[in-house]
Symmetry: C2
Subunit: 330 residues, 2 copies
Amino acid sequence: MTSKNFDVVGIGNAIVDVLVQSDDSFLAQHGLNKGTMALVSAEQAEQLYAAMGPGVETSGGSAANTLAAVAQLGGRAGFIGRVRNDQLGAIFAHDLRATGAHFDTPAAESGAATARCMILVTPDAQRTMCTFLGASVALDPRDLDLSIVRQAQVLYLEGYLWDAEPAKRAFLAAAAEVRAHGGQVALSLSDPFCVDRHRQSFLELVEGHVDLLFANEREIMSLYATDSFERATEQVRGHCSLAALTRSDQGSLVLEGELTHLIPIYGLGPLVDTTGAGDSYAAGFLYGYTQGLSAERCGHIGALCAGQVVTQMGPRSQVSLKELVLEHLP
Amino acid sequence: MTSKNFDVVGIGNAIVDVLVQSDDSFLAQHGLNKGTMALVSAEQAEQLYAAMGPGVETSGGSAANTLAAVAQLGGRAGFIGRVRNDQLGAIFAHDLRATGAHFDTPAAESGAATARCMILVTPDAQRTMCTFLGASVALDPRDLDLSIVRQAQVLYLEGYLWDAEPAKRAFLAAAAEVRAHGGQVALSLSDPFCVDRHRQSFLELVEGHVDLLFANEREIMSLYATDSFERATEQVRGHCSLAALTRSDQGSLVLEGELTHLIPIYGLGPLVDTTGAGDSYAAGFLYGYTQGLSAERCGHIGALCAGQVVTQMGPRSQVSLKELVLEHLP
């Protein structure tokens, strides 16, 4: 696989995050389910924004966060996703390219504005998200730069794209293309409600087309419609060559054939904001994987990157992940 | 003065900040003078932005930061400044209103985009700023809502406005209006180079129209074209009823007639980013002043607010300043 030009190429929603400190009563008042992601219309987004406190804007998007971190780690990263040609779209593109990642999906010239995700961070460091998908939904198979997809060792897809039908088609076309050229497909399940909305379709994907699966406890249980994490674990084991299952402060499990590697958490400081924890875990794992490291070591790099990002506000590390790995996992 | 509807009304540039972690070599490479503010054209801003690392966007503007903090402290705050009707303009307006401050200057319908300030934060926590003034420059006397200005106990003006001729005229018209209605005028000198560009004009203003002056050591020395802080101190003493002179980690001096109050710094944690330190000091001071507190106590509240904001990235406190004051200065 080393003749490829990219270690990891991601397809996902191109989103700018608006981070706001909030509290449980605000979530209750607006009917928001803590720790999950809800889709909102432009009108709902306006109303919610008007009610929120002062925010901080930072580039986000699940797969985009992962690819930014892969680039920060020193991996060759590419991203495909759609912004509008507006101020937030320019910010998204700048921040991603500034990490060293390749990003050249043309910005939409008309239609909805660049996607925005309002992230309410509660004092327990949990994040609750309301996403206006905007221009992200406009991604379709014609936007796919297959010359980049073919050059990926691993194609990384976020489950959130399943909420946008044309993006889902782009996603499947890219998965077929990368596999036809000897690459592998990785999927993040993204969110328990997202899994719930698209369960059958995700099951077919996981069972037929996914080499590496990333999910947290609630997502994998939602996929197999079970309330037993152990049962979900046994079900997924047969279907992907590798599955990394994260369990918040209980660490993570990496399933590799019949083996189960238990990975601890890396507590690097007080917990501030869990936004981007899963995205960073996937980044560390995929970086290690494309460097040819063992599954267990990939899990440790993922856990370390996640451990760093939860000590700060926002989904992308403000310290060098490359130096972090050199320091903690030499 | 208590019959007024606003404790403090500010006039200033309406700016969104782009905060980026940087280093001394980047400053040197781009000819930037550490700790100061440089004005850049739209083209220069584009070039610099393309060269910078990933950023975080947050509402800024010197006087706007001060008024946001006055509102956070519980004061009745208003702000006058011009954005464009674009995405960053909407973010600026939201963040200011979300603090409780009044802000209704109409957004420009055409012309340059909302002002943007690229703030390069070096590992020593110093901030170096490059500002594209954009729509801020479009503020002119016709934008002044005199019904708000007349209702101010204190009108607060940032020296940076002197770089935009129509804004300067608006600023002088507002100062005359507030004084005619029994209010007072406060001025922040903003930046040593800004003072240097407009020294004569600032001297006339300070000597004839300013009741409360805020400046740091380099600014007050620039105003009186002297390399002696003591000499500058004696010169300013006669001209304003109150002058608060900040000296970074050496604390601040509050000059009140013949009295000099020495105010210590409040070290609340590791120094992260000095952006907004002066703005927060002015906020604490003006809040105390409009509550009728002694000049010395006003200085302490200012120093406390500044001590908080330097422990975080960005110019506006992420913790409640009201609670901070209750805790440290009950």
